[in-house]
């Protein structure tokens, strides 16, 4: 409950503040988005499995964002930034899909 409220509050804050993302941060925005979605779906799934843990939730989100950003940062420096960015999005996308499928199986029993 509190999670959903906080999520909505965050969205509203983002829409109201409309912060300008600095240029150097822009390449990391898509990665942050998929990492955030991954954390959300992973958290929902864990909640449905009754194993949700706030520490794991926060730490996994933060570390996913940092590691993904680091990979892309290194890739940028080595000239494979966009490819690695794609790789990160693909891997996290697979996880999102898998978690969404697990949630679906649990909720609808189908």
């Amino acid at each position: 409950m509190i999670a959903a409220l906080a999520l909505i509050a965050g969205v509203v804050a983002g829409l109201l503040l409309r912060p300008t993302v600095p240029t150097w941060l822009e390449p990391y925005l898509p990665i942050a988005v998929v990492a955030a979605l991954d954390a959300v779906f992973g958290g929902i799934r864990a909640r449905l499995d009754n194993v949700f843990d706030s520490k794991v939730f926060v730490v996994s989100f933060v570390s996913n964002v940092l590691v993904a950003a680091l990979i892309v940062f290194l890739g940028d420096k080595l000239g494979v930034g966009s490819q690695l960015s794609t790789a990160v999005v693909v891997v996290l996308g697979i996880r999102i899909f898998g978690n969404a499928a697990a949630i679906r199986r649990r909720v609808f029993r189908a």
């Binding site: 906080a6 965050g10 969205v11 804050a13 955030a36 959300v40 799934r45 520490k55 794991v56």
Partner: protein, 287 residues
């Protein structure tokens, strides 16, 4: 599947795809069960979840805003670039018109200022301007027409062009073709030549840039009309007997390009733009 000791890298990949579950949650749950604190709420649980979800929502909203703000900006940049190109084009054509008008004005003023006393000087000046292509002229001559084949689809190497590489976009005619016709016409005794209405001057260049043929930096397109003023009979005969003409006859048969030439009783050639020499100084008459 859950607790493999040393899974191979392939197995890790398969796990990644088939089992996206975060092991951290299970491990934490097991630890809690082991410690006997399952179901006990710690002090930081609620704030951590709240802050985490707040950040996630914020990130998603920012990404949304950023994406939808960026799109119109790109369109704006594109529009402004198009606008600038259009403006530059208008300016260029306006300046070209100005130049032609001013040139005409200058010749009129010269004639008026020099008067009848300097008639011979004026004649010489006019002759030189004529030779330089800076004066609009008319006279009998030959008109040569070259055009791309109607289909204009297949890029191909043409016979008689050993050093030609297939052009992108299926162009058969390139700058070299226009140049060879022009050179042939000069050799046949042409006195003034224009290509698609652009008068050739002593410093004219016929070049190729990308897919376009440029005459003095102006882009021209098929059909190419090359007008040459000179003795019509001589031009016609000499051009008809030239290797250039026979080459394009062959090309017209083999590749379907348009090629024709014929005498014209009256051709009107516009004045060309001759940039004044900056470095060349006459050796004899140092005035």
């Amino acid at each position: 599947m859950s607790d493999r000791r040393s899974p191979s890298s392939t197995q890790q990949l398969v796990d990644l795809v088939l089992d996206p579950r975060d092991r951290g949650y299970e491990a934490a749950a097991q630890r809690k069960v082991a410690a006997g604190t399952a179901g006990v709420r710690r002090w930081y649980d609620r704030p951590a979840v709240a802050i985490g979800c707040l950040v996630i929502g914020f990130v998603l909203a920012v990404a949304w805003v950023q994406t939808h703000r960026g799109a119109p900006q790109e369109a704006k940049v594109h529009d402004s670039l198009v606008q600038r190109v259009r403006t530059a084009e208008t300016t260029t054509s306006g300046l070209t018109g100005d130049e032609a008008r001013l040139n005409a004005e200058v010749s009129g003023l010269q004639q008026a200022a020099l008067g009848p006393a300097a008639a011979s000087l004026l004649r010489e000046l006019n002759r030189n301007r004529l030779l330089a292509g800076a004066e609009a002229v008319y006279g009998p001559g030959l008109e040569v027409r070259l055009s791309e084949p109607a289909g204009e689809s297949e890029p191909s190497t043409a016979p008689g062009h050993g050093d030609r590489t297939p052009e992108s976009g299926g162009h058969i005619l390139i700058d070299r073709d226009i140049r060879s016709v022009v050179n042939e016409l000069w050799a046949d005794g042409a006195e003034a030549i224009s290509v698609n209405g652009i008068r050739l001057t002593p410093t004219s260049a016929i070049r190729f840039a990308g897919d376009a043929i440029l005459v003095d930096y102006e882009q021209i397109a098929s059909p190419y009309v090359i007008d040459a003023i000179g003795a019509p009979d001589r031009l016609d005969t000499a051009f008809a007997n030239s290797a250039v003409a026979s080459r394009y006859q062959t090309l017209a048969g083999a590749k379907g390009i348009g090629f024709s030439f014929g005498e014209k009783p009256r051709l009107q050639l516009a004045a060309g733009v001759v940039p004044p020499p900056q470095y060349a100084t006459p050796t004899g008459a140092a005035r």
